[in-house]
Symmetry: C2
Subunit: 246 residues, 2 copies
């Protein structure tokens, strides 16, 4: 059973303003919910599930609020609701996280929630533990982003920062920027420490960030397409600088 | 001015059955329309535009049907209609296209129109001229795919084939398959001739196609994500086997 007040509260979490105010966000479906409960990096506040849901193998103590399919449809953000919806505490990125000696992704105005989710999965695949996003990037706890990360959000810390100030404060960590006039990614070896900056879908990286770059990197164009999708570009660049060669 | 019959006809083109029957498809927005008119590989049947549209620099002879914004909203498939909508002849892939000596992408059941569009852009960026898609892949002329290719659809031929028969008929062209148990893409050099097979978003490549593979290729996983987006995986693999090294 879910009360009207609970349903209204969950619905309000589609809005970034409310997520920030309430310090929580929504995730849905057995796969993502289980990954979150397993990783323990995000703390569940309440889990609403239909009888279909088998519970979480990682967290047997957790007792979900039993609801009907109809109730789930009412609170779900998905077009096809899937057994379970959880409200979790918004993770606070570790203020003492050490960017030295590590590779970090920096997002300069990534707007599309699907692209942001894809990039979080890329980070998780290649073992990148932190993403620093500009204040005008899409919000990582937007329900669309949460769903498209497929659980990777539990393993990657997301910092929201003023990029210019942030990059200044972390000098001299190398800053690699994806740009059309850089050197070919085939000429770069593995990068174990640095910030890799990915730009906005249509405008690319802003001039002031490009000026801070210590190395511009290019994905050589062999054919004629005007651009690559931002998530694809991020994947190609990250793979080129993280996969052990030969 | 647009008639009710024209509007109904355009609307029907959201449906693959009608596109196949009528042998035409829809593209929208000045950027894509101009790329199509420039490349001349797709033949316009009719172009409907509001007064805002400046016409096509590549095709000054083309006289659009002038319509109002309201009329454009009625026929458009976009949530934000953009000046111009064109109906084009469905391209027929060249039956004598020569797959020997070239790299070709093979899609085994790519379902998501956004992923398909992204993969067509990747092909165009890396100079791949043809994609062979299984019969159960998304249709490349679905309006969502057309829009997400950003014009690249005009430069990449799309073949729809029974993959097993097709690959048999093109032996001994090498068949590279993206799989979890293959060799690292870092161990492969440039591939100038071959079929690179990308699998379905959740099921991967079907067993019968995997059995035909002459080489299994893997994107090494350094972190913990369960999977990468299909478009991102395609981008990483294509970049690794096409970009000149060093």
């Amino acid at each position: 059973m879910i009360t009207k007040a609970q349903a209204k509260y969950i619905q309000s979490l589609s809005d970034k303003k409310f997520r920030t105010e309430m310090r929580c966000f929504v995730a849905e479906g057995p796969k993502i919910i289980n990954e979150f409960l397993e990783e323990k990096s995000v703390e569940p506040i309440a889990v609403y599930a239909t009888e279909e849901w088998g519970g979480s193998p990682a967290n047997a103590d957790l007792t979900p609020v039993l609801i009907t399919k109809r109730e789930l449809e009412n609170i779900s953000f998905l077009s096809t609701p899937n057994q379970v919806l959880g409200v979790f505490k918004l993770p606070v990125p570790d203020p003492s996280y050490d960017f030295w000696g590590k590779l970090t992704l920096v997002l300069d105005g990534i707007q599309d929630p699907g692209n942001l989710g894809t990039i979080i999965r890329i980070a998780d695949w290649f073992g990148i533990k932190a993403i620093v996003a500009s204040k005008d990037s899409a919000d990582a706890y937007n329900p669309k982003v949460v769903q498209s990360t497929m659980g990777s959000l539990a393993r990657v810390q997301i910092f929201s920062e003023d990029l210019v100030a942030f990059l200044h404060n972390h000098r001299p960590i190398p800053i690699l920027a994806a740009a059309l006039d850089g050197i070919s990614l085939a000429k770069i070896g593995r990068v174990k420490e640095g910030f890799l900056v990915i730009g906005n879908e249509s405008k690319g990286i802003s001039t002031e960030i490009l000026e801070l770059a210590t190395q511009k990197l290019t994905i050589p164009k062999i054919g004629k397409a005007e651009s690559l999708n931002a998530g694809v570009a991020a994947g190609i660049l990250v793979s080129a600088i993280t996969i052990p060669k030969g």
